[in-house]
């Protein structure tokens, strides 16, 4: 779809972070922490890794991407717009009535956006969907690769583990799962709400190949995906260590920023920490013109 250099991917990730902050300042509702933490992964996916065509989102040769944790939508919406699936000017409609940027990703047939395959929001469903899609593609001997991104808190949902078993049982290897391992969920740290560790061992015990990587390090993430796609005979999961709120000092690694937007003052401070990029903002606020 795109073939950015690592430097460009980093700059795009910063632009995505600026977009997320501005979208949330406008919507006054939505999730800050998780989306900020994922900007490096989304930049890498849509500007380097994924095969696709923004002008023909249903292109039959595309790689499939599923965002299982639908509340992370702001980072996806910004990335899809930046990748060319819809105009960046639409980013100011997040969570607004009659808009396509629904609070959680909607299917394109109703209120959703080009580039979204299926609804998500109720947690834990993306893994099963990704496995079904991968099995269907394999049946037709097609080379498309399937990616699914799950939050770490989301792994509390049992359905994910059912899907993990199904993937391993059927030796699905055209599927790569990504776990956003930021150790934060709404209430508290993940290990306080429901202990997930030893997480990699659990995935291994379920029959998966496991790669641990730094999800905020683009070079490392690109290398991990390359390695994952070469593994045959079993599915691979990338346990991608990220920091919730990455890029904004006062949000970083703090679960309290899971589900809230910045107020104007906090938003201004956040934007002052994220230098403008060559890609340009989707909106210039009045106070920025002064």
């Amino acid at each position: 779809m795109h073939n950015f250099s690592v430097e460009e991917l980093k700059e795009m990730a910063r632009q995505i972070r600026r977009d997320i902050m501005k979208m949330l300042m406008i919507s006054k509702s939505g999730h800050s922490g998780g989306p900020l933490g994922l900007a490096d992964i989304f930049s890498s996916l849509y500007f380097k890794i994924l095969k696709g065509n923004p002008k023909n989102p249903q292109w039959s040769e595309r790689d499939f991407f599923f965002l299982s944790a639908g509340h992370l939508a702001p980072v996806w919406y910004s990335t899809l717009a930046r990748a060319g699936f819809f105009p960046i000017s639409e980013l100011d409609t997040l969570r607004k009535i009659n808009g396509r940027l629904q609070g959680h990703p909607a299917p394109p047939k109703t209120h959703g956006l080009p580039g979204i395959e299926i609804a998500s929001g109720a947690l834990g469903q993306g893994m099963s969907i990704a496995v079904g899609c991968a099995l269907g593609l394999r049946l037709d001997k097609k080379p498309n690769h399937v990616f699914v991104l799950c939050g770490d808190g989301e792994l509390d949902e049992g359905q994910t583990w059912e899907g993990m078993m199904t993937a391993a049982h059927h030796n699905v290897d055209n599927l790569t799962a990504i776990v956003d391992r930021n150790f934060c969920q709404i209430d508290e740290r993940t290990e306080t709400v429901m202990k997930l560790e030893p997480l990699s061992d659990k995935w291994r015990a379920f029959g998966w190949n496991v790669i641990e990587c730094d999800g905020n390090n683009i070079e490392e993430f690109l290398f991990a995906v390359d390695t994952a796609k070469k593994v045959k005979g079993k599915p691979t999961v990338l346990i991608a260590k990220t920091f919730m709120g990455r890029g904004v000092s006062f949000m970083e690694d703090d679960y309290k920023w899971h589900g809230v937007p910045p107020n104007d003052e906090q938003g201004k401070k956040a934007l002052s920490e994220l230098a403008p990029t060559k890609y340009g903002d989707f909106i210039t606020f009045e106070w920025e013109k002064e």
Partner: protein
């Protein structure tokens, strides 16, 4: 109209299983998901004929619904089946988000529905599935009356590009439909003409309604019998016509009294042509173990219950 007769006893679930095999021959995109009850729901026939297109997901109905939705995205036509309660109640959220809201044309096929599943008892008697499936936007909902109609419905459902739910039953029951009766999803069948009252039945209660009509016609009561195999989209015209022409309605189903066929019919009547209606259904209670026939009698959904309901509604008829 020729008199409807039971030609043989065969299960509706067998009609489903045999139709799947036929579909498998005709269409390479048909895939079937198994949840460890393949012998019971009769997907074992497809599994044997097309092993490469059969996928076991284990006893995991929530995963099965998501996996089925994923198959749709890869261009497949997936059939997901289990016992009624576990095909609808257990994975309701998955059906709501990944299938109905997302408009994935998964075919959800539920066997062992209703109280007539019998000895397994209340946990396995799906009496709420019509309610939970028909409340979902985009969802088609069917309940077929015999082996052959189930076969026809399953053959035809692949032409519907929507989420689709069909319920059927475990027991061997009378086969009384054939090609002489026109069949179309979404179109009610008038099986017996009549002018005093209309019984609108679905599933196994269609045969009970036919037996009730025999009793009532001997008492000079002219009964119309409609088979409402499609609960959604509902054939409103047939309901309004019956209300106008006969002035009294009895609905009959193997389901809770709330939110099933009876409620669907009442909604149409209330909005279009208010008419006295009596409900033959399980009256807001869970079931118990027993033989299907015994349970139908005890819980008031057999032919005798239909006869009583007809007499009650005729007293209310203006």
């Amino acid at each position: 109209m020729t008199k409807l007769q039971s030609k043989e006893l065969k299960s509706t679930r067998l009609g489903f299983g045999e139709a799947l095999v036929e579909l498998g021959k005709e269409n390479p995109n048909i895939v079937v998901l198994g949840g460890d009850v393949t012998g019971s729901v009769r997907t074992d026939l497809f599994k044997k004929a097309f092993p490469e297109r059969f996928f076991s997901v284990g006893v995991a109905e929530q995963d099965m619904m998501g996996t089925a939705a994923g198959f749709c995205l890869a261009g497949k036509i997936p059939f997901a089946s289990a016992y009624g309660e576990f095909a609808t109640g257990r994975p309701f959220d998955q059906i709501r988000q990944s299938i109905a809201y997302s408009e994935m044309p998964v075919k959800i096929c539920a066997s062992h529905c209703g109280i007539t599943v019998g000895p397994d008892g209340a946990t396995h008697q799906s009496l709420e599935d019509l309610a939970t499936m028909r409340v979902l936007p985009h969802m088609y909902v069917m309940t077929t009356c015999d082996y052959y109609q189930t076969f026809r419905a399953v053959k035809e459902c692949v032409n519907i590009p929507s989420p689709f739910y069909i319920r059927f039953f475990r027991d061997n029951t009378p086969v009384f439909t054939d090609d002489s009766i026109p069949f179309q999803i979404g179109k009610a069948q008038t099986l017996i003409e009549g002018s005093d009252v209309t019984i609108i039945a679905a599933g196994l209660q269609v045969w009970e309604a036919i037996l009730a009509e025999e009793i009532l016609s001997a008492e000079k009561i002219s009964v119309r019998v409609i088979n409402m195999h499609t609960i959604k989209p509902l054939d409103k015209e047939a309901i309004i016509k019956a209300a106008k022409e006969t002035g009294a309605i009895v609905t009959a189903e193997d389901h809770q009294i709330h939110c099933g066929l009876g409620s669907a019919v009442a909604e149409v009547l209330a909005m279009n042509h208010p008419t006295p209606q009596e409900f033959v259904a399980v009256n807001d209670t869970f079931g118990e173990s027993g033989i299907g026939e015994q349970l139908m009698k005890k819980y008031g959904i057999d032919k005798d219950a239909i006869v009583s309901a007809v007499k009650r509604v005729l007293k209310r008829k203006k």
